[in-house]
Amino acid sequence: MKLKKLLKTIGVLGASCTLALSSITANAQEDDTIKVGVLHSLSGTMAISETTLKDTMLMLIEEQNKKGGLLGKKLEPVVVDPASNWPLFAEKTRELLAQEKVDAIFGCWTSVSRKSVLPVVEELNGLLFYPVQYEGEESSRNVFYTGAAPNQQAIPAVDYLMNELEVKRWVLAGTDYVYPRTTNKILAAYLKAKGVADEDIMINYTPFGHSDWQNIVSDIKRFGSSGKKTAVVSTINGDANVPFYRELGNQGISAEDIPVVAFSVGEEELSGIDAKPLVGHMAAWNYFMSVDTDENNAFIDQWLAFIGDEDRVTNDPMEAHYIGFNMWVKAVEKAGTTDSDAVIDAIVGVEVPNLTGGTSKMLPNHHITKPVLLGEIQEDGQFLTVWETDGLVAGDAWSDYLEGSKDLKSDWVSLNCGNYNTKTKKCVGATAE
């Protein structure tokens, strides 16, 4: 009797659980829209950077719909919150691709989130547009890297410092994670190749959110007082920047004495800082809000109108989404379908205008061409462009300055391989299908 009752209860509960499950997995399959997944953290530590990108995507989609959508259908954004939790990124990607059946995902910020998402995107053959500058050393058939590779940001910046400011001593300071580690390795190799001695390079790593910079700044000061011109190449991430620059300013290090070139400090980060102590320090990006072109002005006006706040700024990853989204739209139109394989084939070679007056092109290695701009921080939190590359720089997935990757090459058109070893003439790891 008792057992029977128990089994019955289990049955009822089981049924309701299945119902509950199907409510998570409910997939409204409407064929009259094209779904676009937006995978940016809206809570947790990364929300600070990623929320803006979510809004950018919503704006771009809205604009596209105003223009009549895509292939005659409306675009429908599907926003999820992976909450700065890396396994959750993978789970949400699966949800977007398998449940929501989105046709493309725009998202991720940190390297680790991309790494977490990557296997899922490859497994389910989805499309991911990744808008942030990153360490390179990766090329996936299903991912499009619209942010800068190291050769599109770090190396030109160092060239500028070396040639224009005659910097002789280098401090490579970064947060302890992959992007700074790789960038610094590439830079160290590059500098040594240019004849910089070991003792003229100081490398320093700090944890995320490091807030007490007193002795590191004092070390930098000492390192920089040897009579040779010194510069800091900073890959310090996010929250650690404010205390770093404040300490620099307070210890009396001005941009003329020891300039800091940052790769992770943009307009958005500056809008959260009292920019006064930063004036004159530099950043290398592919886009500055201050660039005076028609496209950019239109984009800024559109953004400010969309977000309804006059004080908001635009930044480089937003431009990357702008380029990436337009490339995707163009490729879909070219292919006539949103099918992943067709879009992957169609998108290589697609050219769209970027916001700095040039035209960016999708390369066979799934990176794009971009200009590199060097700007000095001004008091209003904007950049004054002091130098830019002559033309556009092609993104390089595998760095030429690293031992492990200098022989590797990525070409998804002719080789259909993301890591082709030019010496052994083999596709390493055999990830290609």
Binding site: T18, L21, V80, L88, K92, K115, P119, V178, G429
Partner: protein, 371 residues
């Protein structure tokens, strides 16, 4: 005899166990045998999601055993979970072999990346599953033993214990974030290919992992029941309620706490090991003290000191989280935070206690359900 001891007078537990067993039977069938077009099809997404919940439930069970029964609140249980996960992750990394991006037969990608020449000593052996499996048990177990021995011996209890366990997991998190440690730094371990020669992305492997998690959870539940219904279990409850009385009854309280803590840590390690191949990544974020606190909240929400309450809690909170992050991505922390507050204020015995309260009029509640 034993079945009777473990299962009777544990109606809630039987119900939960039955449900898990049912899920373990039904879900694989609905996933593999039912065509995708059918409304009864359970997607692979749902399978991995459920598999993840099962691992969380196992972790919650481990915590409930020491918190609910021995009154030891560990705010660092995520550390054991993550260590088990890392041990499994290291095995999976070694399984990649030369299919990494750089094609190095021995070194994982991130080591090639950092110009490491040799495999660090602590990575040896992880190419063998049995070794990894041993480590999944030993590493959390030994850490728990050393830590517990130090802590219990000097009678660190209650709030102090909670805080130093938090320090433990925080220290581990910072340490694992360091790239020099050789565990992949912030990116952790990812891009796994095979487990035991099965492709990790295959649906059948997913079902296998899902089943393994379900079975592990059921076995762990029975093991925990066995402990709490044994004489040792009663001693443990006595320690919770009147520690010095137990001591003056001739029990070496420290040793009881220590073994229970070690067992709980091992369970957490196993949960982590099952979790990693299903979510496909392990990184130092798992050590974050916030994760451990959240874990405590699952147990509290479900109802502590009942074992099955922990499972209910883990499922309901995580299900709620999944729903909220999908439907209210901007504001899901509000309901989540509110839940924590309400549970502690209104439902000191958790969801299970709430159900118990409804049933109170019907039948006399069994004693063990009361923490």
């Amino acid at each position: 005899m034993l079945t009777q001891r473990l299962l009777t007078s544990d109606k809630g537990g039987m119900l939960v166990l039955g449900l898990i067993a049912l899920t373990c039977i039904v879900v694989p069938i609905l996933n593999l045998a039912v065509p995708e077009s059918s409304p009864f099809h359970v997607s692979t997404f749902a399978v991995t999601l459920l598999g993840k919940f099962l691992c969380y439930a196992l972790l919650a069970l481990a915590l409930d055993l020491i918190w609910g029964y021995a009154g030891i609140l560990s705010l660092g249980h995520g550390a054991f979970f993550a260590l088990g996960g890392y041990a499994m992750g290291m095995y999976l990394m070694r399984q990649i072999g030369d299919r990494g991006k750089y094609g190095d037969p021995l070194l994982p990608d991130f080591m090639v990346f950092l110009n490491w020449q040799d495999l660090p000593w602590y990575w040896h052996g992880f190419d063998m599953f049995w070794f990894a499996a041993l480590m999944i048990i030993l590493v959390p177990g030994i850490l728990a033993w050393v830590f517990g021995w130090l802590a219990f011996r000097s009678r660190v209890t209650g709030v102090y214990f909670a805080i130093i366990t938090q320090a433990l997991t925080y220290a581990l998190m910072l340490a694992f974030f360091r790239n020099e440690m050789g565990f992949g730094g912030n990116n952790g371990l990812t891009d796994f290919k095979d487990i035991l020669d099965f492709s990790i992305t295959a649906d059948s492997t997913r079902i296998g992992l899902f089943l393994a998690s379900g079975i592990a959870l059921m076995l762990a539940y029975l093991a925990c029941r066995y402990i709490v219904t044994s004489r040792a279990g009663k001693v443990i409850v006595s320690i919770r309620d009147a520690e010095s009385r137990t001591r003056f009854s001739g029990y070496q309280v420290e040793s009881y706490k220590l073994w229970l803590f070690v067992f709980s840590a091992v369970l957490a390690g196993i949960a982590g090991a099952l979790y990693v191949p299903q979510v496909g990544i392990i990184n130092p974020g798992e050590f974050s003290p916030l994760n451990s606190i959240e874990l405590v909240v699952w147990v509290a929400t479900g109802g502590r000191g009942t074992l099955y309450g922990a499972i209910v809690g883990a499922f309901s909170v995580n299900y709620g989280k999944t729903v909220f992050t999908t439907f209210y991505p901007e504001a899901w922390l509000f309901p989540l935070g509110l839940l924590f507050v309400l549970v502690t204020l209104v439902l000191p015995k958790g969801l299970v206690g709430l159900i118990g309260r409804f049933k109170k009029n019907k039948s006399a509640t069994n004693k063990e359900e009361q923490p």
